[in-house]
């Protein structure tokens, strides 16, 4: 297919690099330097989509991220990207795009009948039409709305591309590389400041690329190229092309999205598709320009109607040749479009300007070219089917019709103030330019050029350079004054015309959301008059363009209806992101296995090789159980492991428990204050179980702390609370008691530790260590600890037991962890040793009545856990006073007890609620809940630990363990929480 609508010369496209692409299955040709939008226009494609609500035909309206209409689905398969603006897609060879919102096809859309039912879809229709009955929402309304009024659909497949996060630092961040931004970058860069210049386009220059300017005798494009060359040569200047700054955050932090590979069929090897930058800037200059706004009149949404500045850009930059053109402008700037069309020898039929007076010198060249000029006239309506065919004009009471296929509209300009409002700054109305300009700016930010309402090129260049120089000077660089470039003066007068009241047909305020002038009237009539209410009620300014072309018109219409000035009505403030960002880009590399760090204990590989099934414990992977050949389910493996510990010996990796090394002259005193019990009195070479409270009196954590030397303790914490306890200890030391001579560090990852548990544990260790240590009960009794060296490796041995059996924990530096594990298994081979996982660990501790995560749930007191007597009365400690509050010491509180099913075949479940027998279970008669359960090989049935009112006093009583969620309803007997060896004889053998 030929470029039927392409000028034979000119523009910034590379005619030497033709690119083939497909739209809705048809093949077209464009050139390097095109956007998808310009290439479609050059191929005569005007209809590119259907509108959101009424399925009206829509075309290309703008040239940038403000595009409300031309939303397409880019690419296919897993890379399919819905709701992409054709105006921001850089053309590449093989590009594939499809239109949206049309069924069965773009040209013949059955749902365009929605237009006939338009009264149903007026402002607030979501709230009214679909209110009743509520049950209809899920089954009828939602699918209906989704099908009829949705935007494009996601692929539903995993994204094959990668996204990166990166951080950059600079002295001056410049947002936008138009005349103001380039001048600012040159001024700051020449002064030696570290500059980052972000430009959303793939080419620097902004409006210099789209308009005919002369700067110091050169074209605007040439000037931009020279500026780019100079900036590229400055060593401290970085240019980020294809990069949109999307958010302003506290402390000079800016978010930016770099589209690294969006202009390619797929990212090159090892390259991400997109990169999210966090840019930390000491100063920032926003120079994002201004966006033209449309005029609200009948049929202003028809394909062929577009912004005048956009048409100019398509002609000048992209060498697109429109057909028969009319211009409807209420600004001086609009006349430039007529001038440029005439220069490109494109016929312009008529210029309509609602103003009665327009500068003679603006009109003269247009009139000379034979174009008809109508002043004091308005376009009221348009005609056409799938694209524009004619316009209706009202002049002095009489209606005129003109056959045109393109209508350029200029209603004034809105400075891009979005970023200036991200930290709460309120925009300010300027009567002079008839638009909002940035009000109070975030600290460190300046605004230059059209973004500040400075519309003349001379101003953009001068103010940009001034802002750049001021930013650099502020930061201690010396900026030298440069002569201002010479440019011609321009006319920039605007007389805002918000709405053509004489229009008969639907006049659109917001093209993307199909919000018409009538909808604004309805919102007004029904009391939704504040701009934020107007937005929610009509959806004005929502979705992918965030009302960049529609907000001000909507707010001005409302101002008119309430009889106030636009300045008084105000405008909505925006939040990040300024442009849409894929969730994938925000997630960056933190997806799948990289969502959070994974920590593997030293014995991980060995465990995998020996049949371990893994479980996440905190951030660790821990063996849950080890399956032996022939074992048919987890319960069989776990039961075997638990039995092995009770009868012979087992080895369990306990490295993941938090280990905190605490040293200093006052370490004992410090521990006395953070634990409820005494540690300063603990003998060197001994360990003790300790309990920690929060300051509010509830239990924080527990664990064993050993004293290795008079000024050296090593504390263990539960796996899940390791970081929290570390933070708590640092807090207590640094904030409460900085005078104590104590220091602490986490050594969880530095030491690997194995529990060796069971009646044959001592023999196993003797097999391993030989004569290195005397392990007799007399020499190394329960709760003893020692540091020693074996085979030139420093080791620690603790006689601790979580299982209730004769048991030790042996620790080595993590590098020796796996070697130690292999040695332990070798030394225990003749004893029938087995590795055991967290499940068997749980069985053994539940049989012994030891508390763990289920009981240390942040809602239990020491007394609840049967540990009330541990609270020392001889010293102060964290939580001491508030733990004594009446509600925390109420004897009616649920307290730790053991539970057995009356029918020993029945299974218990944790989370079940205890209720008395023979009454209907309800929240009011709940008496507590089951916290941990296990199948106990020792007891021969399921057993549980739980918290029940006055637990210890009710041993022998029966209650119901009621678990309606999982259909559990079991009669249980309350018993002692210690199911094995209640005297503790096995610990001391």
């Amino acid at each position: 297919m030929t470029n039927s609508q392409r000028l034979s010369s000119g523009g910034l496209i590379d005619r030497g690099k033709p690119l083939s692409f497909r739209f809705d299955g048809k093949t077209y040709r464009g050139f390097a330097g095109d956007t998808l939008a310009s290439a479609l226009l050059a191929n005569g494609v005007k209809l590119v989509g259907r509108s959101f609500k009424y399925h009206r035909p829509r075309g290309i309206f703008t040239t940038g991220a403000e595009e409300p209409n031309a939303l397409i689905t880019l690419r296919s398969g897993a890379r399919r990207e819905p709701n992409t603006k054709a105006t921001t897609v850089e053309l590449y060879g093989g590009l594939e795009a499809t239109s949206q919102n049309c069924w069965p096809s773009l040209d013949f859309d059955l749902q365009a009948v929605n237009q006939l039912f338009a009264p149903l879809f007026v402002g607030g229709f979501y709230y009214k039409t679909f209110m009743w009955p509520a049950a209809f929402w899920e089954k009828v309304y939602e699918p209906l709305i989704r099908r009829a009024a949705g935007l494009g659909a996601a692929s539903g497949l995993p994204d094959p591309d990668r996204y990166e996060h990166a951080t950059a630092y600079c002295d001056v961040l410049i947002i936008g590389a138009g005349p103001a931004g380039l001048s600012a970058a040159l001024a700051a860069g020449r002064a030696g400041a570290r500059v980052i210049l972000c430009e959303e386009d793939f080419r620097l220059g902004g409006r210099l690329l789209a308009d005919h300017y002369q700067i110091d005798g050169e074209t605007g494009t040439q000037w931009a190229e020279q500026a780019e060359a100079e900036l590229t040569a400055l060593p401290e200047v970085r240019i980020f092309r294809r990069t949109s700054v999307f958010g302003v955050y506290d402390g000079g932090v800016y978010g930016a999205l770099e589209r690294v590979a969006d202009h390619l069929p797929q990212p090159p090897v090892h390259q991400p598709r997109q990169r999210v930058w966090q840019i930390v800037a000491r100063r920032a200059i926003t120079a994002m320009g201004a966006l033209e706004r449309p005029i609200v009149f009948g049929g202003n949404d028809r394909p062929g109607v577009m912004l005048a500045s956009a048409l100019r850009a398509y002609v000048n930059r992209f060498a697109v040749a429109p057909g028969r053109v009319a211009l409807f402008t209420t600004t001086d700037d609009g006349w430039k479009t007529a001038e440029d069309l005439i220069r490109a020898e494109i016929p312009i039929e008529i210029v309509i300007d609602p103003r009665a007076n327009v500068a003679e010198w603006l009109m003269k060249p247009i009139a000379r070219a034979g174009t008809r000029i109508l002043l004091d006239a308005v376009v009221t309506d348009t005609k056409g089917g799938r694209s524009l065919q004619a316009i209706e004009v009202l002049k002095s009471g009489s209606k005129l019709t003109f056959d045109v296929d393109t209508l350029a509209v200029s209603g004034g300009f809105n400075p891009q103030i979005g970023l200036s409002t991200h930290l709460g700054g309120r925009p300010r109305w300027s009567d002079e330019i008839g638009a909002f300009v940035p009000g109070e700016l975030p600290s460190g930010m300046a605004v230059a050029g059209a973004a500040a309402g400075q519309y003349k090129l001379a101003e953009c260049l001068a103010k940009g350079a001034a802002c750049g120089a001021v930013a650099a000077t502020d930061l201690g660089f010396s900026a030298s004054a440069q002569p201002a470039p010479r440019v011609a003066d321009e006319a920039i007068e605007v007389k805002p015309l918000w709405h053509v009241a004489q229009s008969r047909h639907k006049a659109f305020v917001d093209l993307q959301n199909d919000v018409t002038s009538k909808d604004v009237e309805i919102a007004h009539r029904e009391g939704f008059r504040a701009v934020e209410h107007l937005k929610r009620y009509t959806t004005l300014g929502m979705a992918t363009d965030q009302g960049k072309t529609s907000n001000i018109n909507g707010h001005a219409l409302m101002a008119d209806l309430v009889g106030r000035a636009v300045a008084e009505v105000g405008t909505t403030r925006t939040r990040p992101p300024h442009v849409p960002i894929a969730i994938g880009a925000l997630a960056g590399p933190h997806v799948g296995a990289h969502f959070k760090p994974t920590r593997y204990p030293a014995g991980h590989e060995w465990a995998l090789a020996n049949g371990a099934s893994m479980v996440d414990a905190g951030q660790w992977h821990r063996p849950r159980w080890f399956t032996k050949p022939g074992e048919k389910d987890w319960l069989e493996s776990v039961t075997r492991e638990a039995k092995t510990v009770r009868a012979a010996v087992g080895v369990c990796d306990v490295s993941t428990l938090g280990k905190i090394d605490i040293q200093g002259r006052d370490a004992g005193i410090f521990l006395d204050r953070v634990y409820v019990n005494m540690f300063s009195s603990l003998a060197v070479g001994k360990a003790r179980y300790g309990l920690m409270l929060r300051e509010d009196g509830f239990v924080l954590d527990d664990g064993t702390t050993a004293r290795l030397a008079s000024d050296h303790y090593v504390m263990s914490t539960t796996t899940g609370n390791a970081a929290k306890v570390m933070q708590h200890l640092e807090f207590c030391h640094q904030v409460h008691w900085p005078e104590l001579d104590v220091a602490m560090v986490s050594v969880t990852e530095q030491w690997t530790q194995y529990a060796v548990a069971g009646p044959k544990a001592r023999v196993l260790l003797q097999n391993l260590l030989g004569d290195a240590l005397d392990l007799s009960n007399e020499a190394f009794p329960y709760m003893a600890c020692v540091e020693f060296t074996w085979a030139n490796v420093p080791m620690r041995l603790f006689r601790l037991s979580f299982s209730g059996e004769l048991a030790y924990e042996i620790a080595v530096p993590a590098d020796y962890g796996e070697a130690l594990l292999r040695e332990l298994m070798r030394a225990g081979a003749s004893l029938g040793v087995a590795p055991y996982g967290t499940e068997a660990l749980g069985v053994l501790r539940i049989e012994k009545g030891h508390v763990s995560v289920g009981e240390l749930n942040g809602q239990t007191t020491a007394a609840d856990l049967g540990l009330g007597r541990m609270l020392s009365t001889k010293k102060d400690f964290i939580g001491r006073v508030l733990a004594r509050r009446p509600a925390l010491t109420d004897p009616e509180r649920p307290t730790l007890a053991g539970f057995k099913p009356v029918d020993s075949a029945q299974r218990l479940r944790s989370g079940a609620h205890f209720v008395p027998l023979g009454i209907t279970p309800s929240v009011e008669n709940g008496e507590g809940y089951m916290t941990s359960v296990a199948f106990s090989p020792h007891v021969g049935s399921w057993i549980g630990l739980g918290l029940i009112k006055r637990g210890p006093a009710r041993i022998g009583e029966r209650v119901r363990a009621y678990d309606p969620v999982r259909g559990g309803d079991v009669e249980v007997e309350i018993c002692s929480p210690v199911f094995v060896d209640p005297e503790g004889a096995r610990l001391h053998v």
Binding site: Y249, G251, E695, Q734, V735, H736, R885
Partner: protein, 86 residues
Amino acid sequence: MRIPCPFCGLRDSSEFVTIGEASMSRPPADAPEAQIFDYVYLRDNPAGVNQELWYHAQGCRSWLKVARDTRTHEIESAVLARGGAQ
């Protein structure tokens, strides 16, 4: 938001953990229960400069007392939180 850690310099707030207001110091062991209750639960929650406790968890592990304006997130100062609120 960036926090000026006295040891590490200006660092991103994502490296820190906050537990909120540094309203008062931990009362002495013999303080009345009401005073300890206030210490644990009562917070002023001002609209303006607030003294807050921040922990540089992914840095030097210092607890800092940070003066932050709750309306603008501007940080006036950050010092070591030794000795609590004083």
